[in-house]
């Protein structure tokens, strides 16, 4: 085996469990070893033999005790992420009807549906345990593309808001002051939550790609903001401004927006706590099983 093949095989094995940064770090160290060894006059063939088979090397460099638990935690996150993505796609479909039919400049539903579906597929693949696939590395890139489209959508929504504010009086004729307020406020809320979701999405995936523990919290904020977005969207598309009075609108908007958001956030925190405590007991049983330190990387 030559140097190139060895490093390629090693990288492939490492990517199953390590973050891209760790893989880069390890590969740069191996390149240095190959350089030093070659400078000594050793053949690449011989150096590869001395390092041992790449599969074995990757196992020596990988955290055998923590990886399965980590992956379990991620599986929960991935399933939720996929479900949320499908919901977001559905919300776009529901939302486009009442808001954009007032004269939207762009039919951006198909454009947004595409990255959403890619994300759903990636999340589901990861959830059913396909992270070994090399495509896993591209998830943050897909997310970046997704973010760009989200930001574009937010920009379009801002345009829509100007339009909606202009026609608010006309549309909410006969409704209460609160109806008018909601009609003006809800699109702003949608735009703001979409922007926030975009930013937290990117932060989440940047942190996740670099294996940072903060990724967990970014996932929460992401979910919370998405829920807010979905509910505001739902509230806006479900209100009939001619038959609802102020208090009914207030009650339904609380019902549609506030309660589910809180419920989702609390549910997520609970699930996270459960999976964290499970991870703890899992880690402890591993601790007992090992006497030396078997925790590289």
């Amino acid at each position: 085996m030559d140097r190139k093949t060895y490093l390629k095989k090693l990288a492939g094995e490492l990517r199953k469990t390590c973050t891209e940064n760790q893989v880069k770090d390890i590969l740069s160290d191996y390149s240095e070893f190959f350089d030093s060894g070659t400078a000594e006059g050793k053949s690449e063939e011989r150096l590869c033999r001395e390092f041992g088979p790449p599969e074995q090397a990757a196992r020596e460099l990988t955290d055998r005790n923590e990886t399965p638990a980590k992956r379990r935690g991620m599986r929960f996150a991935d399933i939720t992420c996929a479900a949320l993505t499908v919901l977001a796609a559905a919300a776009f479909a529901a939302w486009e009807k009442p808001v954009l039919q007032n004269g939207g400049p762009v039919e951006f539903l198909p454009a947004l549906l595409f990255p959403l579906l890619i994300q759903a597929v990636f999340s589901l693949r990861m959830a059913i345990g396909v992270p070994a696939h090399a495509g896993y590395r591209h998830v943050p890139r897909v997310q970046a593309a997704f973010f760009v489209l989200m930001a574009a959508a937010a920009a379009v929504i801002c345009y829509e808001i100007v339009h909606l504010v202009r026609i608010a009086d006309e549309v909410t004729q006969g409704g209460s002051t609160f109806c008018r307020f909601l009609y003006v406020f809800a699109p702003w809320g949608i735009a703001a939550s979409l922007l926030l979701a975009s930013v937290s999405e990117v932060l989440f995936f940047l942190y996740a790609a670099h294996g940072h523990p903060k990724a967990r919290w970014m996932f929460f904020s992401d979910t919370a903001v998405f829920t807010l977005f979905l509910n505001l969207t739902g509230a806006l598309s479900n209100i009939d401004f001619n038959t609802y009075n102020g208090s009914a609108v207030l009650a339904s908007s609380i019902l549609y927006a506030v309660l589910p958001s809180f419920a989702a956030a609390i549910l997520l925190l609970l699930l996270q706590k459960i999976s964290a405590s499970r991870r703890k007991t899992h880690g402890r049983s591993d601790e007992k099983g090992r006497t030396g330190n078997v925790r590289p990387v």
Partner: protein
């Protein structure tokens, strides 16, 4: 050699070698690899990587004049303490084995 024992001894040897002076990765792999020919050098590198992650050693980028950049490793306070601890345990094990009459 079996896993746990090998890992423990290997870690002590790597730490001891680094405690003598600052060394670069390949040099260390060669020294330790030469002592344990049946152990892959990737295993030694794994031990070194973990020591570094645990803060028992620290690394810096450097190079000899004209040479390629290299990562140099040196021992930290935490590493010194861990090394003293391992050497003490190693002596206890050896004494216990000697008392039973296991030949050196």
């Amino acid at each position: 050699m079996d896993g746990q024992m090998k890992k423990g001894v290997l870690e002590m040897c790597v730490l001891f070698e680094i405690s003598k002076r600052e060394v670069y990765g390949y040099e260390l792999l060669k020294t330790i690899g030469g002592l344990f020919p049946e152990i892959d050098r990737s295993t030694v590198y794994g031990v070194l990587r973990r020591l570094n992650a645990d803060g028992k050693t620290e690394s810096r980028k450097g190079s000899v004049s004209g040479g390629p950049p290299r990562k140099y490793y040196r021992i930290t306070e935490k590493g010194q303490a861990a090394l003293r601890n391992s050497i003490r345990e190693w002596h206890l094990l050896r004494n216990a084995a000697a008392q039973l009459g296991i030949p050196e």
